[in-house]
Symmetry: C2
Subunit: 334 residues, 2 copies
Amino acid sequence: MKKNASLVDVARRAKVNISTVSRTINQTGKIGMDTQERVLRAMRELGYKPNRVARRLRARGSSSFLLGLIIPNIQNIFFADLARGVEDVAYRSNYAVLLCNYDEDEAKERFYLDVMQLESVDGIILPPIHEEDPAVLQVVRNGTPVVCVDRSLARGGLDKVEVDNHLGALRAVEHMIAQGHRRIGLIGGPADSSTGKERTRGYKDAHLQAGLPLKTELMRFGDFKQESGRTLAHELLGLADPPSALFVCNGLMTAGALEAIAARGLKIPRQVGIVGFDELPLAEVFNPPLTVVRQPAYEVGKCAAELLLKRIEDGQRPTTSLKLHPELILRKSC
Amino acid sequence: MKKNASLVDVARRAKVNISTVSRTINQTGKIGMDTQERVLRAMRELGYKPNRVARRLRARGSSSFLLGLIIPNIQNIFFADLARGVEDVAYRSNYAVLLCNYDEDEAKERFYLDVMQLESVDGIILPPIHEEDPAVLQVVRNGTPVVCVDRSLARGGLDKVEVDNHLGALRAVEHMIAQGHRRIGLIGGPADSSTGKERTRGYKDAHLQAGLPLKTELMRFGDFKQESGRTLAHELLGLADPPSALFVCNGLMTAGALEAIAARGLKIPRQVGIVGFDELPLAEVFNPPLTVVRQPAYEVGKCAAELLLKRIEDGQRPTTSLKLHPELILRKSC
DNA sequence: CCAAGTGGAGCAAACGTTTGCCTTGCCTGG
DNA sequence: CCAGGCAAGGCAAACGTTTGCTCCACTTGG
């Protein structure tokens, strides 16, 4: 195990004290030009790279160039895009990202929050598991900067960046109504998720605006997984008086609904229209191309990371909360 | 910034020396039953959690419960699945994962390799950027355990787990030939990627086996991105004597090819058949459902992480290299 | 009765930084 | 000529662990 050059090696070679080396690196304290020159040369010659672990151990509070990102599941493309957004701005500022999947599992979330703190990350980005997430609140109290993404925390006064889910759903359903649909099935998200709730609210408001009645038998709620999309779509399409179009509240459930539609041999959009939340990789080349509500996932991650970096720099700055606009991409499925 | 309880706090409360606490935690050294009891109680009462940073700083060489994962792009679902596999086994062993995207960019890869070493990760999982990746070799020489995934390194004698790309392509093209196709277009990967080469080899071998001639005008090579899939498919389909089916060497390029096919108004599989590498989210519900070669991405990650953990435990164990089998999923597109 | 062995636990160094404080030499204003 | 100030840089503590050594008190075999 070849050791990396350390401060003392550099110091020895430059014939100065280690504190001098440290100070030239960090531009802190006053060091003469010539000495700096010597130190820099020694560093170059030895290929010195400061040890991040030691730095973090010592400099708790000052920056250690590590961000934590805790997400439900990286296999969900929304979070993959988001993660990429975070990563890109982190990289540009020389930060690395510690990434964890918590699978909507509270124990796992807690474990990872612990890890993050014990790793002394500079800050954490996460979608809270629910609106009163006590573990997260605890972390915040400990003084670690946190920014919420996608979902938000009821209390805590945190920076956050969300997508305007209500608006996205509203626009989508408005469009469906404009296409002439009067019986629109809803495949919604879990009632305890803020995103699910907001999208459902958009669906309802679109109906209210248009003076259309809400029928409970047309509104079903799943768990954001493919399986439930399929099941619920089957339920809806099996109704005596089935909906003429489906509004599905996330990508995976949309895929599930598509399965059901295919299984029943229904033609899109003639026999049933469909609009889903989340852009899907093949949506554009699907037959017919899928009309979807695209969430700016990458931008969410990007903004969140930017906010976090700013907060790390200045813990006192006023909190900001962003609401990014989703985009209704009109294609042929409705 | 509330501080966590430290060893000294526990020691003070249990009225023992910190070394005693450390030893009871790590089950190293001989400590009396009663003392252990006292220490454990003190730990519980203070909610003590060992500081991972300090541990890593000191115990370079002993385990610090951090794994590094460097991948081209987490937005590529293959790597997302792989990452998930890694994460799951890591979590089960109380490891956290430091994840980085290097974007096939050598500078970025180098930066992240540095970070990993400076963070003293216990080991690294990555697909080398190419077969003679000097930066990776350097890391290996430094003594950090590394396991290669997906792609491999020509030298170095490392643990690795790959997918049998040759086999996957072979089976796919065999199937296409069995379906009666005689002119099969290839949209291959970059010539300097081992995966691309292997898949191309599979394509060729299937032809040889069947006694079919290889036509260079039917073989095009892209960069594994959607754009190139579209362009190359257009080129192939625009030929005077176009191929009757396309074999596409990864998921993104398949999506691109599908775009081209749709743009030309061609019917699958009647006018053109298509088989792609990589399972895609909507492939199953596509119209028609897509025949694809599914790579066991999750398993690759899982096996790699298991291998890495074993190596961390025993640096001397003989290296193993796994070759996982892809699966040809027959659907309707060819 | 003594040497050697053993179980139990403390001391202090080391890991590689950052940083508060101190020292030194030189300059400057009075 | 001297006090005070300042620029430059050294000393050593501290961050929270792990671990090699030492130390002590017993036991035990000869």
